[in-house]
Symmetry: C2
Subunit: 231 residues, 2 copies
């Protein structure tokens, strides 16, 4: 099966998130493409095609089995094989991410947090003791960590990214508002939230003012709770 296009991945995550709300209420064991489409504002045909693309087959007059859809999506993304990641930069945002409880649904487990501020090193955040940057490489090597979450100031990002790469990390989720560069075999995902802000601003203050509404992060979706979270 050829790799799924980003657009498809994005929709799959939307479906996945929507299903969370369903599994809560037992007795709901199936969903129809029409139901998903109406809830997420996606054409039902599109839903069926996406499902078909990951090998899901529905039942004619019934729809798709919730548990099966959920499982299929988990498999596609590899959420069923939990992976460890480390977080670099225990500032405000880093703290917020460490405290976000919803990542397990995406197979992510944050194994350690690093920072270079002596004031912060040694403190405990969300049950994790913050380690000095110095110990980053040994840790990554020892635990064979492949993913890193970067929540550092722009000024330090690239240098730390390089360091992560040389330590063996293969994927970086970058939250600092800078475009990072890395070798081809390392995946960088720049998480620029200002895109969302800009879209709101455009509709609110821009030229013509109001036009279509309801926009979602093409790229950025998730799930959870407790004063302040992510997704």
């Amino acid at each position: 099966m050829e790799p799924l296009r980003p657009v498809v991945l994005e929709r799959l995550i939307q479906y996945y998130r929507y299903l969370f709300g369903l599994t809560g209420q037992r007795s709901v064991e199936t969903v129809t493409s029409a139901q998903l489409g109406a809830a997420l504002d996606i054409d039902p045909t599109q839903v069926r095609k996406d499902f078909g693309a990951i090998g899901l087959v529905g039942i004619s007059r019934v729809g798709y089995e919730v548990s099966e859809v959920s499982r299929a999506i988990r498999v596609v993304f590899g959420f069923d094989r939990p992976y460890e990641a480390i977080l670099v930069g225990a500032g405000h945002l880093g703290k917020a991410i460490l405290n976000y409880p919803g990542f397990s649904r995406y197979g992510l487990e944050i194994a350690a947090a690093f920072d270079n501020d002596p004031e912060v090193i040694g403190t405990e955040i969300a049950g994790l003791r913050v380690r000095p940057i110095r110990s980053l490489k040994p840790f990554v090597r020892k635990h064979a960590v492949r993913m890193a979450i970067l929540t550092t100031p722009v000024s330090a990002s690239q240098a730390l990214a390089d360091r992560l790469v040389s330590s063996g990390v293969k994927a970086i989720w970058n939250f600092s508002p800078t475009r990072l560069t890395a070798p081809r075999d390392v995946l960088i995902r720049n998480q620029y939230i200002s895109v969302g802000l800009a879209q709101l601003a455009y509709h609110l203050n821009g030229p013509a003012g109001g036009s279509p509404s309801r926009i979602s992060t093409p790229e950025k979706p998730s799930k959870d709770r407790s004063p302040t979270q992510e997704n």
Copy 2:
């Protein structure tokens, strides 16, 4: 001029962010579409079309004037006419957002923060005293606030969104991992960051493993510094 499509808005923000890095170094007064394209991995033709769409004209053998491009983008989004927003939910993420210093580039000014936790109310975050939810409506009315940033637990999001709407807010930047509903004239921007995580996971753990790399928030982009930020 008909409204710009979301894809275009997204690229414009990418250009805007890229230009930040340029204005630092004086002597750089122009950019070419080729330069922008190479840096952001966007086809040069696309860059020119986007610029043309917002009325920018380049100079033949030179390119575009950095300051003019920047100004044009600010005008399109309305960043040149600062607007006030309030933040609801002063948890970890809310705190991180309040401390993020880069929003002014996008015209955003956070005027107040609200929470319903007695422990938090009254404390000061990033120079802002946290107010009780009770005072939300009066504040919005009095200051004619049109935008709200929602960083509350999923369980409270919809109720608060409704409250914001009834108070007169016209745009909600939702960080809780739930799809919110609101009247048609209210814009909701769901900021789901898990999309980014999922894309990384897919390339890392998914089916075929490695394929193309370097992905950015469609949705989603921004700029800044200090241990922990956003964009």
